[in-house]
């Protein structure tokens, strides 16, 4: 796992973003190397989800570039970005509520053409997520929150992405599921998936991440290894003090 040398897999350079007159990002810079788990920490409305949307091409930045594997992807339509290998576990999961679990999973591989490999991946997902296997023909909307989160992650994996963007994957889950999801993220990272995740709960995220960034009012105010951030007194005050 080469965490510091070589070309990053994902790089955001000097990103400014705004919704109409309201600017959200101010000169945002960050990068993710292949094989890493990197987390972006920040409070409510600090612009975390917007960062994800910029990467996925759902929101266009005013200035700056997003590089994926050295190639500028800013301005590309979302489907094309997805095809280049960026998978997404969106905020609030966004499962297709009226489609079955099976259909949801296969939607994750929508942009792929290799039928045989898709079938293999499908079997792998069922092995990895026995809960989903039991509920294959149930509608996505009938699953519990934790099950939906599992489905969202499995759906993203079905796309065989080179980078998975996760927006608050533990939000609203019971403590039991929070642990499961974190363990799962670590597990898939160990299988070689690179992960960029957004979290409000710094304590949880830093347990599994290699590195982290802290976003405050649209600016990166701190960055470093997960260990360094965990031990940083400011972080402890601002994010870890009262939580957990």
């Amino acid at each position: 796992m080469n965490a510091s040398n070589g070309q990053p897999l994902l790089q955001l350079k000097n990103i400014d973003t705004a919704y109409g007159p309201i600017q959200v990002h101010f000169d945002l810079n960050l990068h993710v190397h292949a094989g890493e788990i990197v987390c972006l920490l920040g409070g409510n409305a600090s612009g975390k989800s917007t960062t994800m949307k910029v990467i996925l091409g759902l929101v266009q930045p005013l200035r700056g570039t997003v590089l994926f594997d050295g190639r500028a992807i800013t301005g590309l339509p979302t489907p094309q970005i997805v095809r280049l290998g960026i998978g997404s576990v969106p905020e609030a999961r966004r499962i297709f509520a009226q489609m079955t679990v099976r259909e949801n999973l296969l939607m994750g591989a929508y942009h792929r053409k290799d039928r045989r490999a898709i079938a293999e991946d499908y079997e792998r997902m069922l092995a990895l997520f026995p809960r989903l296997k039991e509920r294959l023909h149930q509608r996505g909307g009938t699953l519990s929150g934790g099950e939906q989160q599992m489905l969202a992650i499995a759906r993203a994996l079905m796309g065989r992405p080179r980078l998975i963007c996760m927006d608050e994957p533990t939000m609203g889950l019971s403590p039991l599921y929070v642990d499961r999801v974190l363990a799962l993220i670590q597990q898939i990272n160990a299988q070689g998936y690179t992960i960029f995740m957004v979290e409000q709960n710094a304590h949880l995220a830093l347990q599994i991440a290699h590195r982290g960034y802290v976003l405050q009012n649209g600016r990166i105010v701190m960055e470093g290894s997960a260990q360094a951030l965990l031990n940083d007194p400011e972080i402890q005050d601002a994010y870890l003090g009262e939580k957990q």
Binding site: L58, T78, P79, V82, S88, Q98, M107, Y110, H111, R155
Partner: protein
Amino acid sequence: MESFLRTFSDQTINGLVIGNIYAFIAVGLALIFGVGNLINFAHGSVFMVGAYVGWICMTWWNLPLAVAFVVVALVCALVGMAIERFALYPLRGAPPIAPLLATIGVSFMIDQAVQLLFSRNPHAFPNPLIEHRFQVGGVTVSAIDLLIAGVGVATALTLYAFLRFTRWGWALRATAQDREAALQMGVNVNAVNRMTFAIAAALGGIAGLLVGMYFNTVYPTMSFQATFKGFAAVVLGGLGNVPGAVLGGLLLGLIESYGVAIFGATYRNLFAFVILIAVLVWRPNGLFSLRPRVAQEPLTGTFIAKGRPVPTPKWLIATLIGVAFVLPILVPNPYLLQILTNAWLLGMVALSVTLVTGTAGQTSLGQAGFMAIGAYASALLVLRLGWPFELSMIAAAFISAILGTLLVFPAFRLRAAYIAIATLAIGEIVNQVILNWEGLTQGAMGIAGLPPPSLLGWQMIRPHEIYYFSLALLCLAALVQWRLVRSPLGRTWRSLREDEIAAQAFGVNLNRYKTLAFGVAAWIAGLSGAVTGHMYTYISHETFTNTTSILALTMVILGGMGNLLGAIVGAVTLTALPEVFRGLADYRYLVYGLTLLLVIRFRPQGLLGTD
């Protein structure tokens, strides 16, 4: 008893067959609403195109029926894709009311184009099937009934299989459920949107072909009726719900069929409009949905774009009024004066639209209904009770204000797109009631021999007389409205427009202020209708149609929503434009539709800016 049962079962078959056709139309509307969150007013126009293409295939080219079906489906799919590509795709990102209005513009253009190509008159559509009637268990069924049922079932199964088992079908469903999530799966939602239009249009076109064959005729006005029957069916089934749309279509067909059997054929169209409003008001999620699914939020707002009003100094307005008053002296051309008189009277209607839609934020497509109430009220007061015109005109305005507001009242809880449909339906209901209440209105015959407007014994017969009278009324209406809009009342109206929930939280009684807005607007529109009726000397249920309502809204959009001067400028422009370019007079609605499309696309805040 025997014969009653026979009639009943015949009506049932009849209702199911017509309902089958409504289901075709409704499924297309439901697909488009589901995927694009759009209420497509151009759907009936595509349906009509299908009917005409089918008619061409069968009567000009003598193609076999099966081939005609394929040609109709293909041509209509192309038309649907063209509508999406050229009218709607450029508006992505605009507020939802923009594409809705664009589809109205498209429907104007298609309808007029068909009229120009094939004339307004109906064409006979020969029935290609054997004229055989089968007796099945005491029920009479004709070959065409069986054909429609067969096509219906086959199409439903195909559509089901498509949505359920194909890649594109999955993409469509995923996009309908969550557009942004679908994008993140790599679905090209723009392509899905276009495909949805193609499918919906093909279904609509096939429905048109079937209707043409069933009633043995095609005619241009079948378009609007189809749109509305489709709306009613889709609302019955729950917007965006495809199986619901099928059930809604069948149910509507049955209701109409039984209703006609009980009340008579002229009532046919009334049922759809009444159902539409009743369901929108009392069960906005349709009859078959258990949980609420209507997305309230994205459908609010009447402004296509905000823009400051273009500054208009007092001297400019004074000069314009001055010019308008000396014009008959400078240019005593009766033709010009007549056109401008129309512009003044329509200008009043535009003022009334800009009040409810621009200032108070309630998109109204029913303003012609208020005109009709005013015109009939005045006509009846003068002709039946012998009232003088001065009095009847004022009374008519109040009657329009009261009746109009009562009619719209149940729809007060609806918002932007829904209230637009509801008001359009109310306008139609007014005309349907006029058509059917023969004792009062002389029904389809209309009322002839209205005396011209008069004032204290002065009869306004010459063009400049009625010109001055209507100009004075317009100025008066504008002045009163201007005072109202600048008063605290106006501020409250604007707070409704900006955010109803917030306004309510600040203690604004929504119903009271909507009542006031619609009351004042219906008063002005009713007054205009009364004068217009006496000027025409003849009125019928076809004098003040939804076309007038849509035209008035187009004027307001052209001038700038909520902008009083804009409403008048829009009225003058749209009334005069087709006349100035004489060659355009035949293309009037093409011009209106195109204007609507261009303004929405390139100057959404209107010529003079929103206010």
